[in-house]
């Protein structure tokens, strides 16, 4: 589904990603772990199409198409979803109106007619339940006045509504208490299928107790320095990131 080859990216002339290789197949969950400043968020930003980052080398092929040549909206329309680490508040734009617009622009891209109002409402209700999101929140402005946990839940709610092929969760666990973490993880697990894939970006192992990864990658200084089964995350938690640093620098 996703094939990243030798990806280099920089911001303001500073190279952050220094040659990432990653292959993800449909149905898989990949965890990307790493210390602060290792390039985790840059990787998600580059995949989602943030224009501040310059890709200097390498390629990203998503379902046979060159992802890096697409606008952010076309990536979303092709099925890439980024759950933001810091979702922005958009006063004056209601969640419902926003989602309806998003779904219909995605449908238009695929040559489909706008979704029927009753189908939209049915999907809205079903997915709200999935992430235990209060109906009132859905009617409010996007993220406005939401708590940290509500914002993260709203990200997963949007993901549920848009039904992406590839979801990238950028530190979705940061700032979440254990109850909120369970709700979010439960939402992600219920949305998992053989057709879609998930990249879980995290600093800590805890989220991986709830979203079980098929592969764990360790990102350090802009490169994936180690990949392994889910047990790698536990080892990392136990030994800390220093052991990776030592291994790499040795």
């Amino acid at each position: 589904m996703l094939n990243i080859k030798n990806l280099h990216a920089s911001i303001g002339g500073k190279e952050i990603l220094k040659g990432i290789d990653l292959e993800i197949k449909a149905g898989e969950v990949h965890a990307v772990m790493g210390p602060n400043g290792s390039g985790k968020s840059t990787l998600s930003a580059v995949l989602a199409g943030r224009e501040e980052y310059e890709v200097t080398e390498g390629e990203v092929i998503f379902n046979g198409k060159n992802l890096l040549e697409m606008s952010p909206e076309d990536r979303a329309r092709e099925g890439v979803f980024l759950a933001f680490q810091y979702p922005v508040e958009i006063p004056g734009v209601s969640n419902v109106n926003f989602l309806k617009t998003a779904i219909n622009e995605i449908r238009a891209y695929k040559g489909l007619t706008p979704m029927e109002a009753k189908d939209f409402l049915a999907r809205l209700k079903e997915k709200q339940k999935l992430v235990e999101l209060d109906g009132k929140l859905a009617n409010r402005s996007v993220n406005e006045g939401f708590s940290g946990g509500e914002k993260k839940r709203n990200e997963i709610f949007q993901m549920a509504m848009l039904e992406p092929k590839l979801a990238i969760l950028d530190e979705t666990d940061s700032g979440l208490d254990i109850d909120a973490l369970r709700i979010v993880a439960n939402g992600v697990n219920k949305l998992k299928s053989k057709e879609n894939a998930t990249i879980v970006i995290t600093h800590y192992q805890r989220l991986l107790d709830y979203i079980i990864p098929d592969v764990v990658h360790i990102l350090y200084d802009g490169r994936i320095v180690k990949s392994g089964p889910k047990e790698l995350a536990l080892e990392l938690e136990e030994k800390g990131y220093d052991f990776i640093k030592e291994e790499v620098n040795a």
Binding site: E73, A76, V88, I90, V93, T101, A102, S141, L162
Partner: protein, 431 residues
């Protein structure tokens, strides 16, 4: 020196017009002469006058102007300007009240609507006319008071609730440059309620249509008034729109000034809170583009204790257009326990656009809550990216954000059909 000569020219022409039209003018000739004298003394303001420093009005009035027009407009031509299906409608063409275009049948009891030129024998006209707009305070008030010969007088009797909104449609239409003075007086008596919408349109014009429009309003004790202005002129339109409001105790006044288009718009909104327990809401929205110039000057004058005023003006500035917000709040010595809030927010969409924003608080009482704030920025790139990352095109994302920005003002319009009209206008604007 050249400017001085030019402004003398327009002054001379206006004096000539005044002398020749004198026999036909309604009302108190002495007042008019005094007003003309004040105007001649002040002249047309230029950039040296503090209150008009961002616009060179004397330049706008260069060339030949006529001061009246008898151009006819058909009812088909104005159909599109009636955005409320169910309303009492007053149509004013080039400053003249036009009975045949207005819809004044089945006017409810307790409401009088008259051509202002025929109203001067009315008790309330005599009591209030020119009592609030001070001819010595501003050139355009003076000029209007000297020359205005048409407009509407609206009177709502004590205790009367007018449920159907009243729409005043001002139309400028001319093939040659015109400078028109139109004048309204609205008297809302004790405990009465009314909603008035005033719109400004241009129909079939190829030259400068300059309108110096002045409305005086008095809102008596416990009366409630909503007043919404829609300024919708095209590039022929040059508008100076003064609204002088006097509120008495326990009255509630909510006003929206929505400026959608027009080459030049200058709004002077002056509200005197002359009583206790008054509530005042002033909201404004201006969407400027091209070479448009929009200038909002507001004055909220707290004279008595225990009153609340709340002001919110927002603007979106595009292309080479320029907008000014100058909001003054006076809290006089007696006006203890005043709550007065003011906010002005702007989005600049281009590098060539200009916004001048000048909040002014003058507080002479010591037990008050007052605040003002202003911000100007671009559309937030993080918000645009967030929306695009969900599949919205860049254009849709921007449009949505602009709607969201404007909604804080638009949502305060209580008449649903009007709110929808404004929303459609905003959508079309950013397509």
């Amino acid at each position: 020196m050249e400017t001085a000569v030019k402004s003398n020219t327009i002054k001379d022409k206006l004096l000539l017009e005044f002398e020749s039209s004198k026999p036909d003018l309604f009302g108190d000739l002495k007042l008019r002469e005094e007003a003309m004298e004040s105007f001649l003394k002040k002249g047309i303001p230029n950039r040296k006058s503090e209150e008009y420093k961002y616009v060179n009005i004397d330049l706008l009035l260069k060339g030949d102007f006529s001061f009246s027009s008898d151009k006819k407009i058909s009812s088909e031509q104005i159909e599109h300007t009636k955005f409320l299906k169910d309303s009492i409608t007053v149509v004013i063409v080039n400053g003249n009240f036009v009975d045949s275009l207005s819809k004044l049948k089945s006017i409810p009891k307790g409401l009088q609507i008259l051509n202002i030129a025929n109203a001067f024998t009315h008790k309330n006209f005599q009591k209030h006319y020119s009592n609030y707009a001070n001819i010595h305070s501003d050139s355009f008030i003076a000029l209007n008071t000297a020359l205005a010969n048409g407009g509407v007088f609206i009177h709502i009797e004590k205790g009367t609730v007018i449920e159907t909104p009243i729409q005043i449609i001002n139309i400028s239409s001319s093939k040659e440059n015109t400078l028109i003075n139109s004048r309204n007086l609205i008297v809302v008596e004790e405990n009465a309620q009314v909603k008035i919408i005033e719109s400004f349109e241009i129909i079939d014009s190829s030259a400068k249509a300059f309108n110096n429009s002045l409305t005086e309003m008095v809102i008596e004790e416990s009366a409630i008034m909503d007043y919404i202005k829609i300024q919708n002129e095209n590039e022929s339109g040059y508008l100076i729109n003064t609204t002088q409001v006097c509120q008495k105790q326990k009255s509630v006044f909510t006003t929206n000034t929505i400026t959608l288009s027009g080459s030049f718009v200058r709004n002077n909104l002056n509200i005197v809170l002359d009583g206790e327990y008054i509530e005042t809401h002033l909201n404004g929205l201006y969407l400027t583009n091209g070479n448009q110039v929009v200038d909002n000057h507001t004055l909220v004058d707290h004279r008595k204790p225990n009153c609340n005023s709340n002001e919110l003006y927002k603007g979106i500035i595009e292309d080479k257009s320029s907008a000014t917000f100058n909001g003054k709040i006076y809290v006089r010595k007696d006006a203890q326990k005043t709550n007065a809030f003011q906010s002005n927010k702007n989005i600049l969409l281009s590098d060539d656009g200009t916004i001048n924003t000048k909040p002014q608080l003058e507080i002479y009482a010591d037990d008050v809550k007052c605040s003002h704030g202003t911000s100007t920025g671009k559309l937030d790139a993080d918000k645009i990216f967030y929306l695009r990352a969900r599949g919205l095109s860049e254009t849709t994302a921007k449009k949505l954000l602009m709607h969201a920005f404007a909604s804080e003002v638009v949502d305060t319009i209580k008449i649903e059909a009007l709110r929808e009209y404004v929303e459609v206008k905003i959508s079309k604007r950013f397509e």
